[in-house]
Subunit: 247 residues, 2 copies
DNA sequence: CTCCATCTTTGATCCCGATCAATGCTGCCG
DNA sequence: CGGCAGCATTGATCGGGATCAAAGATGGAG
């Protein structure tokens, strides 16, 4: 069956370190584009006391689907995979979280996907209750959260099109461009795209198997469109990739 | 290619009728579960003046992807398909809208999907600017909208799993159960499920072809699991369908 | 350094669902 | 009532991507 997950990769225990307080939101790397961008300096100082930094080692799990939500998280550093599992082990990655992403919002009181670290991750953790109280009197923060949710929803719909209606080649090409786009807003534009996630992660994100992803990369490389480098790929012919992704 | 759309179905001109005002939100069928459930009676009277009722005949288009968003909509009656098209005509239906659904929220100022009526539809239309002003001073309405967005996001992620990781049989079974669930909250639970959308719509929602949907229905009927009736299906053996959908 | 586990690539084959092709069904309009 | 257009079903065949299998690559532990 497609997307069967080998045991091992995700069974490792979460490794989490909680840092003592003493960080300043005003110095934070994601200050300008995360949820906190909606807060003024005075609010920020109050906000500071709500959160604490937590670290997860690579492959550590921040939370699992169906866990009761006790915290919200703001990703500060690293990359996470967000995924859902079917009872038989098939996995669908519903997104990758990068610095600035806000995790944990839901209606049911339980997480509706699992999240684990792909590389070492630092997050700002907020107790749900305290965060809820803080937001109560800050409609601009609520508006910011709403904005992020609506943006996510739009991505989710784009991804539905990819999953339901695109060929393997198109999926891979669209993934490379989308990932490059996200990286570029964090660390500047580049033709070299770092891919911290495994081939299996890419496959589970695109609704393919690992073999198909690997073969597609190889095919693109043979055509001279990309070059497979250590820990990522290099776009030799971006226009060609865009043509593939477009339709 | 999968999901190619026959011309004709969606080329028909939108048919829209705008009713003169004179409706009361307090009498509205969706008053208790749509966005407006967050408003108190006094606010509701003010809200009343913001919206106007619009009607769309079957297959009429309320808005198209990339159109500049000038209005938000609250579905009062009927069923709509929400979809995205690829340049070559492949279509992915990202959802069906039913009474109580709120449409039009986006970040870019442009709709990120198209919406058209499957059967005659009545909606409550709000000018974006006026609605924005109204919400400005009503954080509880914003919270309600946020709630709806987060609920949608959760559905979107469930649907990604379906599109990326489920077989045709599982997709069809999950669709029938999901649709029954939605109908039951509107018109009460029943083993008879009305399916106002075409087979092509179902296929484009599930990432399948019309032939596969048709064959799967026939197969389920032959097994005695469902009965295909005019305008819908009847669940003869719900447990069996659930077993199929679960995985 | 070697060893071993994990990840990635490559090859051979299979099969589910797409595609191609009729035929049947339904309802609308004259 | 017949004709016709659009939908739905069914059958035959094809092919993209899954599955099965094995051989590289890579990297961390000792």
């Amino acid at each position: 069956m497609r997307g069967q997950l080998a045991l091992g990769a995700w069974m490792k225990p979460s490794v989490v370190t909680i840092e003592p307080n003493g960080h300043f939101c005003s110095d934070c790397a994601v200050r300008d584009f995360a949820v906190c961008s909606s807060l003024d300096p005075a609010e920020l100082r109050e906000f500071e006391r709500l959160g604490r930094r937590v670290h997860f080692a690579a492959s550590g799990t921040a939370f699992s689907e169906e866990d009761i939500t006790t915290s919200f998280y703001n990703v500060l550093e690293g990359v996470m995979r967000l995924y859902k599992l079917l009872p038989d082990g098939r996995r669908q990655i519903v997104g990758f979280a990068l610095p600035g992403d806000f995790l944990g919002m839901n209606i049911s009181g339980r997480h509706n996907f699992s999240a684990d670290a792909i590389v070492a991750v630092t997050m700002c953790q907020f107790a749900k209750a305290a965060f809820g109280r803080f937001i109560e009197t800050r409609p601009h923060l609520l508006r910011r959260i709403n904005e992020l949710a609506i943006r996510e929803l739009s991505h989710a719909r784009d991804h539905m099109v990819l999953l339901g209606r695109r060929s393997a080649d198109e999926k891979v090409a669209a993934f490379l461009l989308g990932w490059r786009e996200r990286l570029s807003s964090l660390e500047g534009s580049s033709e070299t795209i770092s891919l911290p996630m495994s081939r299996q992660d890419i496959a589970d994100y695109l609704g393919l198997t690992i073999e198909t992803v690997s073969r597609t990369f190889t095919k693109l490389e043979r055509r001279g469109v990309i070059e497979i480098i250590h820990g990522g790929i290099s776009l030799l012919d971006p226009a060609q990739v865009e043509a593939l992704a477009a339709a």
